[in-house]
């Protein structure tokens, strides 16, 4: 150490050691070793939550918003509507986080809380038993984008004649400035209720004792006002990677022609006449990710899938006069995204056929309650559009197709308008003859239209309790039987409509086993063996870790060509039910053009996982040649850049950074101020004492001074 200056006692190697030791400390923390961090003593993170998010359209923003650093409130479990006084006016510790059970999740309670939003920090809904009826949708779904506008007919616009969803309370379309979350009924709800009972209950007479149980919800949404604002803000960023604030809703429609056309040749096809058989795929709920839509959409498209299978089995041989297009539209709940896109494509020669080629349309709407439990005959209604000789023919074909079946079609009164359906978008462009099949005569029979309770139980899918999941998959429920009959009738109608031979009509029958397997897979458990057989090994959408059904909400249109799980399920199902298995290998399946008889212009080739044969563990995968295609379904408003369009859907979903929820205890204000006071006192005292001692140090520490001491 001699020969060097005093400053070199500490050199650089020590600094590197310091950094390494801190890194090691952090490494210990992040690895398995339970860190016992203080945060674990304070917070309980809630993982199974579904938030209410913000959606925007041309004029409004709907949904919920939290502040950017989360909203904290003292938990209050609401027991009845009268109990609402406590959080809204009487409670001494605002703001409150109100915990509701599903029976209390009504419009009146939510509106009261919305009006007192300074005292309400957020709402948490615990779904339990289904209320007798609940529909958060509006009373007149899609009222501005159907065919009944003011200009068309004032009497039929805005549901003046028939209110389709009279139970609708419009809760999904309200705007809340506090977060609303939904919990699944499980351990986390028990933890919250236990915390509430331990800390927040008012003991008779005495006030609440701190610390109190509180919850914090984070669901800050970036987009505000309306679609035009958020799209403008998204493109204003001048950096190389633009930041999007909101995303347009959209997905893919699933389309399949019986006799496919060259997929690169768009526009009018000479001498081609197509019958479109349509159904809707999507639905929604107040909490978007919890959408189920059993009666609303699943019943319809499952029937159409079964009809497609029945028809394709029968029509292998004879060509017919007309082609049939099976179209499954996505995004219909949000102002007809899928069907408006198809009509737009047809009008602008961006689809393989155009509107002149369309002969007629048959749409399947909500078809649950045709069924009664005993041997009564059913009445399935069909609703007329602009009448024409074609429509009369279509209805005649329909009526005759029910021969031998246990129900009949009944025409509704002529004065009734069409219910909300994709057919309305076609009518808006051109007066095409067509019908819509539904189980309601005037307004909807569906008590849970577009709500979380429209699930398997609502569709009466009941299985005997002693069955294993695989046996449940095969069990044919009554609902499946009745939907099979409807599918048979639809298939026969389509066959006759396409000019098929009358003598062969009665051989067309839908398969009840297929229908019940589809209903099971779409509404009870998606992770079943049949879906796995038909699925793709490449896209692991069927390797769903939870057995829950897929999400029915349309989701955002991703720029990568990824559709959501529901679209892939329907695509692969339709491909397997209507396509043909081939002998191609996997690499040939990816590039079939090299083979002489295959053409990717007409068909698409999908590699299907296949079954596991009894004596091995490898799946026997194979290549399916099918006419099923996915067609992009994004509202034309976004292509045209017209974000205030009244013609097309302008729905977008806001983006966010993170969404989470946690519970903890909060301390009283007094304790906090006491801590601060003590801290300030300690600091000042120590400053004074130290100053005093250091100035008098020569007096205090004077004995036995070393001779060469420097002055203090």
């Amino acid at each position: 150490m001699t020969g060097r200056g005093p400053g070199t006692i500490i050199g650089f190697p020590h600094k590197r050691k310091l950094v390494t030791s801190i890194k090691l400390f952090l490494f210990f923390c992040l690895s398995d070793v339970s860190c016992n961090s203080v945060a674990q003593k304070i917070y309980v993170e809630l993982n199974n939550t579904v938030p209410c998010v913000r959606l925007l359209n041309a004029t409004h923003q709907i949904g919920c918003q939290s502040s950017i650093s989360g909203d904290t409130g003292v938990i209050h479990v609401l027991e009845s509507e009268a109990d609402l006084e406590w959080p809204l006016s009487k409670g001494p510790n605002p703001p409150y986080m109100v915990l509701l059970e599903s029976s209390l999740f009504t419009k009146s309670i939510m509106m009261k809380m919305k009006n007192a939003s300074s005292r309400v920090a957020g709402v948490v809904v615990v779904p339990k038993t289904s209320p007798p009826e609940f529909s958060p949708h509006t009373t007149c779904p899609n009222e501005n984008t159907g065919v009944y506008t003011e200009t068309y007919d004032h009497n039929l616009a805005h549901c003046n004649t028939t209110v389709w969803n009279p139970r609708g309370n419009g809760l999904s379309y309200e705007e809340f400035d506090f977060p609303v979350f939904s919990l699944k009924e499980d351990n986390e709800t028990e933890v919250i209720k236990q915390c509430y009972f331990d800390h927040n209950r008012v003991v008779n007479g005495s006030g609440l004792q701190y610390p109190l149980c509180a919850m914090q919800l984070f669901s800050h949404m970036h987009a505000v006002t309306d679609t035009a604002t958020c799209m403008r803000r998204s493109s204003m960023d001048f950096s190389t990677s633009p930041v999007m604030v909101c995303d347009p809703l959209g997905g893919y429609n699933v389309c399949a022609f019986i006799r496919p056309y060259n997929s690169t040749a768009f526009g009018h096809k000479e001498n081609e006449s197509v019958v479109i058989a349509a159904a809707r795929l999507d639905s929604k709920a107040f909490f978007l990710e919890d959408s189920t839509g059993a009666e609303g959409s699943v019943s319809g498209f499952v029937t159409l899938l079964a009809a497609a299978q029945a028809l394709c089995e029968a029509t292998q041989e004879a060509p017919r006069t007309r082609n049939i297009l099976f179209a499954f539209f996505h995004g219909e709940v949000f102002d007809y995204i899928g069907s408006s896109r198809m009509v737009y494509d047809m009008k602008n020669n961006m689809f393989v056929i155009d509107l002149d080629n369309v002969h007629s349309i048959l749409e399947i709407g909500q078809v649950k309650t045709c069924i009664s439990i005993n041997v009564w005959t059913y009445k399935c209604m069909d609703i007329r559009s602009n009448n024409n000789e074609s429509v009369t023919n279509l209805v005649k074909n329909l009526q005759s197709s029910t021969a031998g079946l246990n129900f009949s079609f009944v025409e509704t009164d002529f004065s009734q308008p069409l219910p909300p359906s994709s057919f309305q978008r076609f009518l808006r462009a051109r007066a095409i003859p067509g019908i819509v099949l539904a189980d309601h005569q005037t307004d909807f029979n569906n008590r849970y239209y577009e709500s979380f309770y429209d699930n398997a139980a609502h569709l009466n899918l009941t299985y005997p309790s002693n069955l294993s999941p695989e046996e449940q998959l095969e069990f044919v429920t009554d609902t499946a039987k009745s939907l099979t009959e409807v599918a048979t009738a639809v298939a026969r109608t389509l066959f006759k409509q396409a000019g098929g031979n009358n003598s062969q009509v009665n051989k067309i029958n839908a398969d009840p086993k297929t229908v019940t397997q589809m209903l099971y897979g779409f509404l009870v458990r998606s992770n079943n063996s049949w879906f796995q057989v038909l699925g793709s090994s490449l896209r692991c959408v069927f390797c769903l870790s939870e057995p829950n059904p897929p999400q029915y909400y349309v989701g955002v249109a991703k720029s990568s060509h990824q559709a959501n799980a529901l679209t892939y399920l329907v695509q692969y199902l339709l491909a397997n039910l209507t396509g043909t298995a081939t002998n191609l290998t996997q690499s040939q399946c990816k590039k079939p053009d090299e083979l002489p008889n295959e053409s990717t212009y007409l068909y698409s080739y999908l590699w299907v996982q296949g079954m596991v044969p009894p004596n091995s563990t490898q799946r026997e995968s194979f290549c399916v040649r099918t006419a099923v295609r996915l067609v992009k379904a994004v509202s034309p408003a976004f292509d045209l850049g017209d974000y205030v369009s009244k013609e097309y859907s302008t729905w977008t979903k806001s983006q966010w950074k993170f969404i989470k929820a946690r519970i903890f205890l909060v301390a009283s204000r007094d304790l906090e101020m006491l801590t601060l006071g003590v801290g300030v006192a300690v600091l000042f005292t120590s400053l004074l004492v130290t100053y005093f001692v250091s100035t008098k140090a020569d007096v205090l520490f004077s004995s036995v001074r070393e001779p060469n001491n420097a002055a203090y």
Binding site: P6, V38, A39, I42, T72, V666, T690
Partner: protein
């Protein structure tokens, strides 16, 4: 809990150390260097002892909670012993450095007395120990929640801050006493310091029974303060001198 608790606990835990730093250390660069080196020595001792503890926990069953608690106690005792060993090592280092400083300084003799170095080294140990005890807790005190969900006491933050304050001051006093003992070749002082350190550690195990842990620790701190005062050259005579000095100053000025 909130910003109020954050600042309150930060002031409690680091207030005295901060004021000591400003008034006695910050002006002299040599003292700053010795402070930081002392902090570093404490850090290395913590690193080595935590390595031992880490290997012990990894080698055993992580699910057995009593075993893990015992391992923690064992690790902490080992850490206490290692801290005192490093304190002794720092003493030797500073003694050697002192000779070199004396050789090159402009004045006759070393620029810092051993007493001053003892005090600064002790404070360095104390500040680093306090930082490692408190920073993690402080950062979590900024959020909206307080401790108590799993049955812990809601006074967790205040008591942590008070313990940290006590520990910082204790390290300072131990430093003074320890170096003085080494200087005078009184080896029993080292043993006593080690025992007191172990006693403070075992009292902290009584948490959350705060009455049984904080009060005795503060009593020990006062005793150590008195001992350090006397061993660094103070005496009752000096205090009375101080008092009369002030009195006479007050008389002459008034």
């Amino acid at each position: 809990m909130t910003a109020a608790v954050f600042f309150g606990c930060a002031f409690i835990a680091f207030g005295p150390a901060f004021s000591l730093f400003i008034f006695t250390i910050a002006k002299d660069p040599l003292r700053v260097i010795i402070l930081i080196a002392g902090a570093f020595f404490w850090l290395v001792s913590l690193l080595l002892s935590s390595l031992v503890w880490f290997i012990a926990t990894k080698a055993t069953n992580a699910q057995d909670l009593t075993l893990q608690k015992n391992l923690l106690i064992f690790g902490s005792i080992f850490s206490v012993i290692l801290q005192e060993v490093f304190r002794f090592g720092y003493y030797r280092l500073l003694r050697k450095a002192n000779e070199g400083l004396a050789a090159i300084s402009e004045e006759d003799g070393p620029p810092l007395s051993v007493r001053e170095m003892a005090y600064v080294a002790g404070l360095g140990f104390g500040i680093m120990s306090g930082a490692f005890s408190m920073i993690n807790t402080l950062s979590d005190s900024l959020g909206p929640g307080t401790v108590g969900m799993f049955g812990d006491s809601q006074y967790y933050f205040i008591t942590s801050a008070l313990m940290t304050l006590a520990l910082t001051m204790l390290h300072t006093f131990w430093g003074v006493v320890f170096f003085e003992g080494c200087e005078r070749k009184r080896w029993w002082v080292i043993a006593v310091v080690l025992c007191v350190h172990l006693m403070v550690f075992s009292l902290s195990l009584l948490n959350p029974f705060y009455v049984g842990s904080i009060l005795p620790v503060y009593a020990i701190m006062l005793l150590m303060a008195v001992w350090a005062f006397f061993s660094s050259g103070g005496s009752l005579h000096n205090i009375t001198l101080l008092w009369t000095c002030r009195k006479s100053n007050a008389e002459t000025s008034s």
